[in-house]
Each structure stands twice: as structure tokens, then as C-alpha cells.
């Protein structure tokens, strides 16, 4: 009897103070992060001193940019319209290409995983390539101008829209699909009457979202010679005309913010 009591007592005293969970893992993670950052700083030759020394330059730059050259607006309006055009056509082409792609990637529509895994893989590969890189390749193929920019935007937006759409397709209600199967619809009727009505609001919303991204992208594609307002950065920075640079930046910001605002309002209405 006594022995048992003492055993119990023993256990109690041992349990009184729970051990704190070890923090070794946290310390190791922190050390790893510090190491990574240190290595990155070394690799990129970043130095705080350079930054501080360069800081007056930045101030100079801002001073030179300050009164934006308002008369330059007239010169860049056509380029801005071109940018808008590129974004519209690029997004539309991307959206059209994305439809079959999304259908082939959705596991509940393309019934066999021999179909949807390869297509998803291709989609992932496409999405790893940045749009400016695509533009540079298309410029090499088609020459300078807005055409390579449009193709680059089309491929780039296809990647985004197809990914978002196939994920939306996979989460649709199964009921209409089964109903269409039960009445003996063929594959096309099945898609048109049970998948499309459920997905189309999402699809339109994704297209608008991609359009917002594409306006931003189209504004810089000119840096590699793919048309639009980006071409003017090279022209003005080369001649050190910073007042004109700030005009371009302000104009781009205004257009982007306006389109973002309209597109967000439209998307709120859709969903």
C-alpha cells in the first residue's frame, strides 16, 4: 500500500513541471534563414554602404524628375493606346486558347488521367516563363513591333486563365453533369449545358483579372522592343530626360489604376 502511494507521489512530482518543447528546430531554421540571406548579400554584392553612397543620386534623380513635362503627354498618348490594344487582343486570344486547355486539364471533364496530367504539366511549364522572356523570344521571331507583344501576352494569359478556370471547373456542382449524362447527351452538349453555365461567371472574372495583369505587363513589354509605351523608357532614359520619364510613369499609373478600378467593380458585380 505504502509503496504504491510513494510511486504515485513520485509520478506527481515528475509531472509537476512540464518540459518546454525544445526550440532547437526554431533556432536551426533561423540560422538557416540568416545564412541564406548572408549568402544572397554576398552573391549579389549588395552593400549597405553602396546604398547610402548612392542615396544622394536617388535624391538627384527625384529632383530631376520633379516637374513632369506635361507637354510630353501628347507624344505618348498613341503609344498608350497601343498598349491598351495589345492588352485587349492578347487577353482575348489567351482566353480563347484557355478554354480547350482548361477542359482538358479538369479531372472531372477529361475523364482519364492520361489526358489531364500531361496537359497540366504543359500548363505548368508555360506558367514558369515570365512574359518579358516570351516577348523577347517573339521579338526574335517576328521582329520589332506590337505583334510579338500580343503573342507573348496571349501565351502568358492562357497560362493564368486556364489554370484558374480548370480549378473552378473541378469545384462545380456534380448534379447537372449527372443529369446530362442520364438524358444521354453527347460530350459537347454535356459541356455546353452543364459545365459552361456554372463556370462562365468565374471565367469572365478571371479574364478581367488577367486583363488587369496584362495592362501592367504591356506597359513594360516595350523594353525588349515588343511595342507599347515601354519603348519610350529607353528613348527618354537614354537621353537623360527624366522629366519625360516621370510623365510616362504618371500616365501609366493613372491608366492602370483606372482600369483596375473599373475591372474590380465589374468583377464584384459578376460574382
Amino acid at each position: 500500500m505504502k509503496r504504491i502511494e510513494s510511486l504515485n507521489m513520485n509520478r506527481l512530482t515528475k509531472q509537476e513541471i512540464p518540459k518546454a518543447p525544445t526550440k532547437i528546430k526554431h533556432y536551426l531554421t533561423a540560422a538557416l534563414i540568416v545564412l541564406l540571406i548572408g549568402w544572397s548579400a554576398y552573391q549579389t554584392e549588395s552593400s549597405f554602404i553602396d546604398f547610402v553612397e548612392g542615396f544622394p543620386n536617388m535624391f538627384d534623380l527625384l529632383v530631376q524628375m520633379y516637374p513632369p513635362s506635361w507637354s510630353y503627354f501628347d507624344d505618348i498618348v498613341p503609344a498608350m493606346l497601343d498598349t491598351f490594344r495589345m492588352a485587349v487582343i492578347g487577353t482575348t486570344m489567351g482566353a480563347l486558347l484557355a478554354v480547350p486547355f482548361a477542359l482538358l486539364c479538369a479531372s472531372n471533364i477529361a475523364a482519364s488521367n492520361w489526358i489531364y496530367y500531361p496537359f497540366r504539366f504543359i500548363l505548368n511549364l508555360i506558367r514558369t516563363i515570365p512574359e518579358l522572356l516570351l516577348a523577347a523570344i517573339f521579338v526574335a521571331i517576328f521582329g520589332l513591333g506590337p505583334l510579338p507583344g500580343i503573342f507573348a501576352l496571349a501565351v502568358f494569359s492562357m497560362g493564368i486563365i486556364a489554370k484558374l478556370t480548370y480549378e473552378a471547373m473541378e469545384s462545380i456542382d456534380k448534379g447537372p453533369l449527372e443529369a446530362m449524362t442520364a438524358v444521354g447527351a453527347n460530350k459537347i452538349q454535356w459541356i455546353v449545358y452543364s459545365v459552361v453555365p456554372q463556370v462562365s461567371p468565374y471565367f469572365v472574372s478571371f479574364v478581367l483579372y488577367t486583363f488587369e495583369i496584362n495592362i501592367r505587363a504591356a506597359a513594360i513589354l516595350g523594353l525588349v522592343g515588343a511595342g507599347g509605351i515601354g519603348e519610350y523608357y529607353d528613348k527618354t532614359l537614354g537621353f537623360l530626360e527624366y522629366d519625360k520619364v516621370s510623365t510616362i510613369i504618371i500616365f501609366t499609373l493613372m491608366v492602370v489604376l483606372l482600369i483596375d478600378y473599373i475591372s474590380t467593380k465589374l468583377r464584384e458585380k459578376l460574382l
Partner: protein
């Protein structure tokens, strides 16, 4: 026979719908008419073939060159730019996040100003930022780091502020009731709630920054973009092929690792 009452089709706002269609049609006609279709360059087919054969038979010798300026070093440089840029922005955006959060700032105007500044930073293209930083610190990776670090504040600040807005106020009240100071409340009630979201968003932004870092070199801000644009200008397609493969491989691997970590954190 009794006539069966057929369901009436819901009346839609026909006028609105049609005006949207007309507007869209006008935009498309205007957009399509403005695109110059002066025909493709005759060499387009040839170059496409050259690019494809270059990608299919990449220049494996470029992966590692003992004297430097090879693919591996370029990719490591790109990775370093993305890591440092993301870290800087994750650090700098914290004050912005608290500033832009409705529940942390007193008054709607202050939070609104914070949100506006963040969206302003977000709209400023990172490549233009890089161009400006090149003027400040000279061409090279450091300009790329600064550009990414500044540009990412916009998105991270927005996501972080939403995370801060969604916190539970229970722990804060509990700590206040025990007489904790402002800093202690922040550290023991707010920080533990937002840390997982912070880490997850930072990793997500890191994935985006890696893609951006791989093109910064096109304008001279360091990373793999510089040798890529040189190879393109000298029409060395097998080298372009190996660099493209390198970028795709690196981005895919980093995406997988980062996705795994994000799943673990949240």
C-alpha cells in the same frame, strides 16, 4: 385541355446587356483595326525552327564553365536576388501593414492613406524601378535586389494588412486585462496570430520574385537575364535553349519546395 402555366423567363435588363455588347464590339473593332499586319518577317519560320532545334539540343557545355559566367552561377545569382529582395520587402512592409489595417489604425482616413500608398507601390512596374535604381547604384544585381525589395512591399503589405485585419481580439483583451504593456500585447497576442500568414505570403511572393529576377537582367539588373539577352542578340539558340531550360527547372523546383513549406505552415 387545360393550359399549363409555363414558367415565365426572368426579365433581364436587356438594355444594359446590349449596351455592354455594343461597347465590347466597338472596343474590339477599334483594337483590331489598329494592329499593323504588315505580314510576318520572311525569316519567321526559319528562326522558329532554329529556336526549337536550339531548345531541343541545348548547349550543355554552358552549364558549368570553370572561368565563370556560366548557367549555374547565373541561376544562383538570380536566386540570391530573389531571396534578398523578398527578405527586404518582408521586413519593410510590416509597418505599412499595420498602418493600412483598419483595426490597428485609428480612423478611416489613416488606414485609407496606407492602403493607397501600398496600391501606388504595387502599380509601379518593378522593371521601371530597376531602371531607376540602376541610375542610383549602377548596373548589377544590387539594383535588382533594391527594385524587387521596394516593389514587393506593395503586394506583401496589402496581404499582411488583410491578415492583421482578420485577427481575433480575444487574446489582446485578455492580455490587456492582465496589465500587459502595448509592446507585450503586440508580441504575445498579435504576432502569434499573424506569423503563419506572414510566412506563407512571403514564400508566395518569393515564387513571384524568382520569376521577376530571371528577367531583370534584360535591362542590366543582374541575374540570368543578362546572358540570356546576349545569347538572343547573337542568335546563339542552343545557349538560349539551355538558359530557358535552366530557368524552367529552377522555377519548378523552387515552386515545389515553397508549396510544400506553405502547406506545412498554414
Amino acid at each position: 385541355m387545360k393550359s399549363v402555366a409555363r414558367p415565365v423567363k426572368p426579365k433581364k435588363n436587356r438594355f444594359m446587356l446590349w449596351s455592354i455588347y455594343v461597347l465590347l464590339a466597338v472596343i474590339y473593332i477599334w483594337a483590331l483595326s489598329g494592329i499593323p499586319i504588315e505580314g510576318f518577317k520572311e525569316t519567321a519560320g526559319q528562326i522558329t525552327k532554329a529556336i526549337l532545334s536550339g531548345i531541343l539540343s541545348p548547349d550543355w557545355g554552358y552549364v558549368y564553365l570553370p572561368e565563370g559566367e556560366d548557367l549555374l552561377r547565373g541561376l544562383l545569382d538570380t536566386l540570391a536576388i530573389a531571396i534578398l529582395g523578398t527578405f527586404i520587402s518582408a521586413f519593410l512592409c510590416i509597418p505599412f501593414a499595420f498602418w493600412a489595417a483598419n483595426n490597428m489604425t485609428k480612423g478611416k482616413i489613416a488606414a485609407g492613406t496606407g492602403k493607397f500608398i501600398l496600391s501606388f507601390i504595387r502599380t509601379f512596374p518593378e522593371l521601371v524601378m530597376a531602371l531607376l535604381f540602376i541610375k542610383v547604384v549602377g548596373p548589377g544585381s544590387f539594383a535588382g535586389v533594391l527594385a524587387l525589395g521596394l516593389h514587393s512591399i506593395g503586394m506583401l503589405g496589402k496581404l499582411f494588412s488583410e491578415e492583421v485585419e482578420n485577427i481575433d481580439f480575444g487574446p489582446i483583451e485578455a492580455l490587456k486585462a492582465t496589465g500587459a504593456s502595448g509592446l507585450q500585447t503586440l508580441w504575445f497576442a498579435v504576432v502569434p496570430q499573424i506569423i503563419p500568414g506572414f510566412i506563407s505570403y512571403t514564400l508566395y511572393r518569393f515564387e513571384i520574385n524568382l520569376r521577376s529576377a530571371s528577367i531583370l537582367g534584360i535591362i542590366g539588373a543582374g541575374g540570368i537575364g543578362t546572358p540570356l539577352i546576349f545569347a538572343m542578340q547573337s542568335r546563339d539558340w542552343s545557349r538560349v535553349g539551355i538558359i530557358l531550360l535552366g530557368i524552367i527547372a529552377m522555377v519548378t523546383i523552387v515552386d515545389i519546395i515553397s508549396g510544400y513549406l506553405r502547406k506545412k505552415v498554414v
